[in-house]
Symmetry: C2
Subunit: 337 residues, 2 copies
């Protein structure tokens, strides 16, 4: 099954809607509408049916997944009863990020990309990458969906894409082993971890991880395919820029299994429904590794077999903004001078 | 004014409550109760008064701050009308993290700590720290409050404290200059960034920033003092372990002003009400820099003038858990061999 989030206008502004995507029938089903119709068919008042339907199927996939295993049962009931009556054409929606992830942790689980970006950015590769799966957290304020324009921040001249899988967590969990961890996975979405390359190496040399080089845009979409429909260790991944294939890889070459990634993250920490875990970039899954660059207006498509195609267009560079002034060290270097 | 969050039992489990702390009168005022009484005094039904009061003053400070400038006006109305009737002794509450921060970004804005921890951890210090304020994001699942026990994760033998300020954001903002950024600050809380030192250097060498070394516990409390009551550039900071003073510093020695930190974070990214920005650790504000260690049962107190004292006790080391197996590189090093 495939879940997505769309945007609809309402009397108090746009609202997010949770939909099921039927790629065979080229339809999307609005779950709250199907559930409202189902409840009304069982004698509920319109007002109460709307209230309950919007609680069961809010615009937040994270909130809906928080219902646990009950969620898919509720989806089944709504679709069976009134799915057809609540459906619309697949090419219509204004897509939001497929998951409103409370937290997006991004790993780096493809060795070829690890080696490649370290070389290109002039960073020293470290054997520790084979002893623990390093990851950083991006800003959950900057999630965008299929079709959205990618904002080009004022502080970078080198915008890049990254071809990644997004593993979507379906339940709360902590201190898990890989087997238990794998059972937390609800589905897979496509993740384009847009990056500002000229600021990434200076940031990473400071040891606290990437921030400005990553936090401006993370595309998730077009939808989330549930884990039962996929072999997560054999997903083909392709990136195209303006229709030309630039990158191709497979999840089979990951250093760490999805279960190992989730298990590692869960140690001492807690995972929640809707959290997304990025796989890291597929081999040669970025322009950086190919010695190429993106330009404003470029169309970037990421395709993953069994999931779909996530398409975004790179926006114009934003006008100059504030930059931090250089500070004078008061201690560092003084003792040695 | 001082705001905190406490825990009260209810018919459906514990609930979080938003309170105002009166340190002169040694009282805490439950805001939802004061507002409910005020509304009932104006002819509201009990049910409707409760509904509106809990919407105006939910247990989430982040949600309440999301109301913007209206929030403090509503607090004033509730306190003026029925503050006394909704108050209880200050020594009673079960404290939660003072802010349920959607995102906690932690900077490293004290030069002496930067130099000190690089030396102690055997990491190379970089001049880039004087060109941009580096920061990482911790796990918002692991916030704890005043009085809470600090969980000691199974994977570390070296638990440490960090004496920090937590700047609490009161409004949404992006792409700000330092002056506009400073106006986003609602208040200051005390932040103990508990750290696992033996895993921190190996993690930081991987370039993606600290995760397991930080994500297991972040204490915020005991409350948030509003910015109008403080001179944020002259806050005295003290750490005591089992009653003995270990660390002392002042916000006056920060490399970056709070306004510069907020402005930098806002570039290309978005700040939200309730987000917390850590100052970084005060000079010699950790056991690491003193060549000391914490033990289970140690009581750690952080004091900041004008805010209060945040006290936590270090818990016992947790039983062994899963650790990632070492992987064999397939590419890295092969070409050179």
């Amino acid at each position: 099954m495939k879940f997505a989030r769309t945007r609809l206008p309402g009397p108090d502004g746009d609202v997010a809607r949770l939909v099921v995507v039927d790629t065979d029938g080229d339809r999307v089903v609005d779950l709250a509408t199907a559930e409202r119709l189902r409840l009304q068919g069982r004698g509920a008042s319109e007002r109460r049916a709307r209230e309950v339907a919007l609680t069961t199927f809010p615009g937040s996939l994270a909130a809906a997944l928080g219902t646990g295993e009950e969620f898919l049962d509720a989806v089944g009931r709504a679709l069976d009863a009134r799915g057809d009556d609540a459906s619309a054409p697949l090419d219509g929606p204004d897509w939001l990020a497929s998951v409103d992830a409370p937290l997006l942790r991004d790993c780096s689980a493809f060795e070829e990309h690890l080696v490649g970006y370290h070389e290109r950015l002039g960073l020293e590769m470290n054997m520790g990458h084979f002893e623990m799966p390093a990851y950083y957290k991006t800003s959950p304020s900057r999630l965008i969906g299929h079709g959205a324009e990618v904002p080009w921040p004022h502080y970078t001249d080198y915008l890049d894409y990254e071809l990644e899988l997004g593993f979507v967590v379906g339940k709360v969990g902590r201190d898990l082993d890989p087997e238990a961890a794998e059972s937390l996975l609800f589905g897979v979405t496509i993740f384009n971890d847009f990056s500002a390359r000229d600021i990434q190496a200076p940031e990473m040399r400071l040891g606290l991880g990437p921030t400005k080089s990553k936090d401006f845009a993370s595309a998730l979409g077009p939808w989330v395919t549930t884990i039962d429909e996929l072999d997560v260790r054999a997903l083909e991944m392709i990136a195209r820029v303006n229709g030309e294939e630039w990158s191709r890889g497979s999840s089979s070459s990951m250093i760490w299994t999805p279960g190992e990634l989730v298990a590692y993250i869960s140690q001492g920490d807690e995972l929640h429904a809707g959290d997304v875990i990025g796989s890291g970039t597929a081999p040669r899954g970025s322009a950086l590794e190919l010695g190429r660059k993106l330009s404003p207006g470029d169309q970037v498509e990421l395709e993953v077999t069994g999931v779909g195609v996530l398409r975004n267009v790179v926006g114009p560079k934003q006008p100059a903004g504030w930059r931090p002034p250089k500070k004078e060290p008061k201690i560092f270097g003084k003792a040695r001078a």
